[in-house]
Every structure is written in structure tokens, then in C-alpha cells.
Symmetry: C2
Subunit: 147 residues, 2 copies
Amino acid sequence: MFSAVPGPESDRPDLAAMVARLARALVTAERPVLAAHDVSMWGYIVLSALADEPMRTQAALARAIGADKTRIIATLDELQERALIEREPDPDDRRVRLLRLTGTGRHLHAAVRADIRAGEERLLAGLAGADRSAFLRVLRRLDPGGG
Amino acid sequence: MFSAVPGPESDRPDLAAMVARLARALVTAERPVLAAHDVSMWGYIVLSALADEPMRTQAALARAIGADKTRIIATLDELQERALIEREPDPDDRRVRLLRLTGTGRHLHAAVRADIRAGEERLLAGLAGADRSAFLRVLRRLDPGGG
DNA sequence: GCTTACGATCTGCGCCCGTACACGATATGT
DNA sequence: ACATATCGTGTACGGGCGCAGATCGTAAGC
């Protein structure tokens, strides 16, 4: 067979190891940013999910973000108390709580996201343009939650 | 400024979110492979570290793999009992235990690694060659544990 | 109306992990 | 010699999480 050139790819670390380490580093870098906006990691995840689209049930939200349905209750309580989300009982089915961002919530999410993006930009700054876009393209493609 | 074209990059999910999801998926895919070889995740991580280079102290190993030094003791016990590693007291400093793979250990690690690589190949199979190599190149560069 | 199913919530169990501390053996500097 | 530091090991605490009920309100099918 036409094996690829024996470049540095042949003895790389495992994909899982590299990706897991990078994920850890990214999350670590994200933590102070979230703290600066007084938002927890789960809070930010919820805000992000609701920024994409409002949810009809909390169970759906939990599924969407890959969290236990009991996990997010406290998070939603806090977000609601801070008027970042609305949790209105559905008049058509009073079991479910319609979830959506408030204006404040949307604003805060945008601000946090901008800060996080800035941090990511610093990380990606040293990359060649083609490498950078290829990396992001592949990442989106391999991302299980991205489509 | 010459802003980049407003491609799909502008409204991507957060890097941390994508990378973390991908890491989770990769680890999930890895788990059955490890189970098939009767190796734990920590066990495989230790084998990988020692395959790269023998270690002079357990503390150094723990630091190298980003684990607590108390964490790895049980792992090392088991690996030693299965004759996959050697843990010999250093004659020059009898506090420390020289750590290295046995032949069996090196063999097992190579086998597991090959299986894991095969799984990764399946994941990367759909990528264009240039994207694939760019992705891996960037990954190695951003990997905090990769130099 | 009655049964069955579903959503939200609460509680408890068990697991994994990081951290901290204590201890004994040993090495090193003075 | 003695004080201090290091290494390996054991143990205990607490946090975060997934998972499995139990409860209550509600909806939908028969």
C-alpha cells in the first residue's frame, strides 16, 4: 500500500490523550473568565444552550447538554433568581416549564462568550491561517454535539 | 481592518465545549478497547508514560501524567503484580523506585495502542488528507503535554 | 373515571477524584 | 549528630457527578 510519509504523525500521542489534555487546559483557562462574570460552568453551559434555542422542557435541556436532569435544577434556580432565564409553566401542559433567556441573560451570555473567545484567540494566534481554519473545520466535524 | 470572511467560523460553539465533547467521545470509544485487554484507563496511561521513557520516581511519573501521587499507587501495584512493570528500589537512593516496563508490558502496551490507533483511524477516515494532517499538527502544538 | 405515562423535584447511594495529613525510611547539608 | 527535606504509602475528608427511586402534579388513552 502507499503508506504516508513517515512524518512525525507516526509516533504521536494518542488522540484521546491530546484532546483530553487540551480540553482540560481550555476549561482551566475558562474558569477565571466565568468567575469574573460570576457564572458557574454549568450556568454558562445552560445559557449557551438556551442562547441557541429556547427549550420546552428541562429534560430536553438536560439531554441537549449531556447532563443529568436532576443536576440542572439548582443551576436553573440560580439563573432564574438572577433573572437571567425565564422558567414559565407552559399553559398548554402545566407539567413543563418553558425555558428561555431574558434580555439580561442574553446580554450576559454574549459578554462571557466574547471574553472566552478572546482567550481562545490568544491560544490560536500563533497558527497559520490555513492550519487554524482546518483545525476548526475538523473540530466542528468531529464534535459529537455539533451536528 | 481586514476581517476574515464571515465564514461559518464566526458562530461556532466554544472551543472548550467542542474539544471537551470530542474528548469525552474519544474516551468513551477507548473504554471497550481497554476492557478487551483488561487494562484500566490509568493503567494504560501509566504504560504509555513508561513506554516513552522509564521513570526514576513515582512522584515524577505522577507529575508527568498529571495525576496525584497517591492515585497511581494502586495502579502500579496491579501493573507490577501482573508483571507489566518493574518497580525496583534504586540502589543509589533507596527511597525511590525505578519504574520501567517489562517485555510483557511493552508488548501489551503496543497491542492496546495499535487497537486504539485503529479506532482513531476510523474516526479520521473521512477527512481530507490535508485537513487531517493540519488537525493533528495543530493538536500536537496546542497539546500542553506534548512539548 | 381509571390507568398509564410524563415532567419536575428531592433524596440518598456509590464512585472517582483532588487535597491534606501522618508516618516510616532514607538522603543531604551543616 | 542533628535538622531538614524527599519518597513511598496509607488514610480520611469533601466535592462533584451519575444513577435509581419516591413523590407530586398533570396529561392522555380507554
